[in-house]
């Protein structure tokens, strides 16, 4: 943390630019001083996503969503967009459009394989429980959707990202956003304004017309839970900031009024949302600003205005107030967040897999709050352990030297 307020404001001066890697002269050795905030808060978001996904989990009342209109999903997409914009546009500049495109599609492929793997687990669960036990309570509704009667078709729809069972809605969003990224980055270089206008126009179209959505199988009328036509606005805005960052930052982000605006928005968001959280815990607590009033602006599927504005405000505030190498992030307690954030692609996929398994465990054995704690803790521990292994592997890889170093750091930076 900066020592004084004046110091703090000088940090605002580089709010855009301070989300950084400092570049060395050598083109190949890319990352020298890593912006630890990106890793730390992405790690935090990953833990929150996992905890929020467990059914009936009391701990979910203590994650980001209880103090912000937005939740960990927005934070994750924002940081991922920012990192991806920064890393891949640098690759694009040094190695060209084709290499950057291939790198991005390597990521897309990994995500896609993870998606298909999750789908296999889903189908195995379904085949076992419904097939063997002939589920009685939902026979009628499943009869209407009938994907068990046509597993071949269901499989094709899953491969086309059409079929999105529980927990399988975030990966498709991420896949689609990354898949478009090469074109968007090329657009940033050639002409950013058309990209900007299209992105905002799409987001607005989703806000005003609920028919602007992507269909899902088995339908009819099913839609993607995370509407990519809305969520792209957050991802590409963040990618643009990341892209600008390696070109000297964004000067208008330096204005002092922007800091106060962000502070005001974050504070208002906190007061209103936290009041709702308390009200959920204890009904007699009055609610001055009703959810009924703000509800149309709070859609998660469509990334409603308040969620969008809230995540931008809070992240701006965090980037202004916390130094990229702030001391608290060097403490041992911060290390699990850092390593999970640094290996976010793997830990993200692992987190979703663990959510599915945790769901099955909690619904089989229940066990109340103690069990919710135990499953949450076990999941987080597994995420940290796997991230630590990946770190260790990366370190031995780097130590083996040679050209692997550049590739490895670039790849690490690219974990978007």
């Amino acid at each position: 943390m900066p020592a004084s307020r004046a110091n703090c404001f000088s940090k605002i001066g580089v709010a855009g630019a301070s989300w950084i890697y400092l570049m060395t002269a050598a083109g190949r050795n890319l990352a020298v001083e890593r912006d630890l905030r990106l890793d730390f808060f992405r790690g935090l978001a990953l833990f929150c996503i996992f905890i929020d996904h467990l059914p009936n989990n009391i701990l979910a009342a203590f994650t980001l969503q209880s103090v912000m209109f937005s939740d960990a999903a927005e934070v994750f997409i924002l940081i991922s967009g920012y990192t991806a914009g920064m890393v891949y546009s640098r690759v694009m500049e040094h190695r060209g459009f084709l290499v950057a495109g291939i790198r991005i599609y390597q990521r897309v492929w990994q995500l896609y394989v993870a998606h298909v793997f999750l789908f296999m687990i889903y189908m195995a669960t379904v085949a076992y429980t419904v097939g063997a036990l002939n589920n009685a309570l939902y026979a009628e509704e499943f009869g209407a959707t009938n994907f068990l009667g046509e597993p071949g078709l269901a499989l094709v729809h899953a491969l086309l990202l059409h079929f999105q069972p529980p927990f399988m809605d975030i990966l498709p969003l991420y896949i689609v956003l990354l898949a478009v990224l090469p074109l968007v980055l090329a657009g940033f270089r050639l002409r950013p304004w058309p990209i900007f206008i299209i992105s905002v126009a799409l987001w607005l179209a989703v806000q005003f017309d609920s028919r602007v959505a992507l269909p899902t199988y088995p339908g009819p009328d099913g839609v993607w839970f995370f509407n990519p036509l809305a969520w792209q606005a957050l991802f590409f805005l963040a990618a643009w900031l990341g892209w600008r960052n390696i070109h000297g930052g964004v000067s208008w982000l330096n204005h002092r009024w922007l800091f106060w605006l962000a502070l005001g928005l974050s504070l208002a968001g906190f007061l209103i949302r936290f009041n709702w959280t308390l009200h959920d815990f204890y009904d007699p607590i009055p609610v001055p600003i009703s959810a009924k009033l703000l509800w149309p602006l709070l859609s998660k599927s469509d990334l409603g205005l308040l969620r969008f504005a809230n995540v931008l405000a809070v992240s701006f505030l965090v980037s202004s107030l916390i130094h990229p190498q702030a001391r608290f992030m060097a403490k041992p307690a911060a290390w699990p967040f850092l390593i999970c954030g640094r290996n976010s692609l793997y830990i993200f996929c692992l987190g979703i897999l663990l959510s599915v398994l945790g769901h099955l465990v909690l619904n089989e054995f229940f066990g109340g709050i103690a069990m919710q704690f135990a499953v949450s803790a076990a999941g987080v521990a597994i995420m940290i352990a796997v991230a630590a292994l990946l770190e260790w592997l990366g370190a031995t890889h780097d130590a083996s030297g040679g050209s692997a170093v550049g590739a490895s750091t670039a790849r690490r930076g690219a974990r978007g």
């Binding site: 309570l137 939902y138 009628e140 509704e141 209407a144 839970f225 769901h359 099955l360």
Partner: protein, 259 residues
């Protein structure tokens, strides 16, 4: 099995006060802890009319689970069981439960039917079981929210009391259907509109946690029997729910509430 179309046609069945319990219930099997009954404010007109021996018409809206499909028919469904319990508890009241459920019905369809099939009956209380079809199909959760809000406003404008009921819980399907967004939409609507929410999902989860009413058997006859007991339990819990919070109703004789 009755064909779906036929089932959709036989929607309106009135349960008179004389119907007897068809299944013997093991009462300990499905006690409901007090915490599932707390909501502010509670119903007024309905418990009062029941206690004072007035005329009470309850309209049940919903889908397959309100039709008692898994248990083998309408007389096994929770609306029928609710009617039977209320008749036993309040013998002097003229209680009638009309089952207007239609299998696979979305909230949107239910709202479209309000003017034609529901509100002309001038119900004292509407119990609206909803959300299942939306969750199974993955329909737009914001639209679900808007539709329910419109329905709530309409039912209240007609002067009826309203109880919302959420989905069923079952271990197998819980990992298969993304219920949470729809459950949370129902919670929120109940809260901001002060509409009591019968948390069937949580109540059934509580029963599953305590090992009762397990439907996981290959024996279809056994499964049918468990489903019948389950719907009986829901009916009784609902009878408790609608009369909860009214002192007059509380002191009425309650022969079969296993709490």
């Amino acid at each position: 099995m009755i064909p779906v179309l036929l089932r959709c046609v036989m929607v309106a069945v009135a349960i008179g006060p004389i119907s007897k319990p068809l299944v013997a219930f093991a009462e300990q099997e499905c006690t409901v802890p007090e915490r599932f009954y707390t909501f502010e404010p509670s119903l007024k007109k309905t418990p009062r009319a029941l206690a004072s021996g007035g005329q009470v018409l309850i309209a049940a809206l919903g889908g397959a689970s309100s039709l008692g499909v898994a248990a083998g028919g309408l007389e096994m469904a929770w609306p029928a069981r609710l009617g039977a319990v209320l008749a036993e508890k309040f013998p002097s009241a003229r209680t009638k439960v009309v089952n207007l459920a239609v299998a696979r019905q979305t909230a949107k369809r239910a709202v479209e039917r309000l003017d034609r099939d529901v509100l002309p009956l001038k119900p004292t209380l509407v119990i609206w079981e909803t959300g299942t079809m939306e969750a199974v199909r993955g329909l737009d959760v914001d639209e679900f929210h808007e539709t329910l809000q419109a329905g709530i406003d309409k039912i209240r404008a007609a002067g009826a009391e309203l109880v919302l009921m959420n989905m069923q819980f079952s271990r197998e399907t819980d990992a298969m259907i993304h219920f949470e967004p729809y459950l949370s939409a129902l919670r929120e609507l109940s809260d901001v509109n002060d509409v009591p929410l019968f948390r069937r999902y949580d109540i059934m989860r509580h029963w599953a946690e305590h090992g009762s009413l397990d439907l996981r058997t290959k024996d279809s006859e056994k499964r049918r029997q468990v489903a019948a007991r389950l719907y009986g339990c829901i009916g009784r819990a609902m009878a408790d729910f609608v009369t909860h919070g009214d002192p007059a109703a509380k002191h009425a004789p309650s022969p079969d509430i296993g709490r």
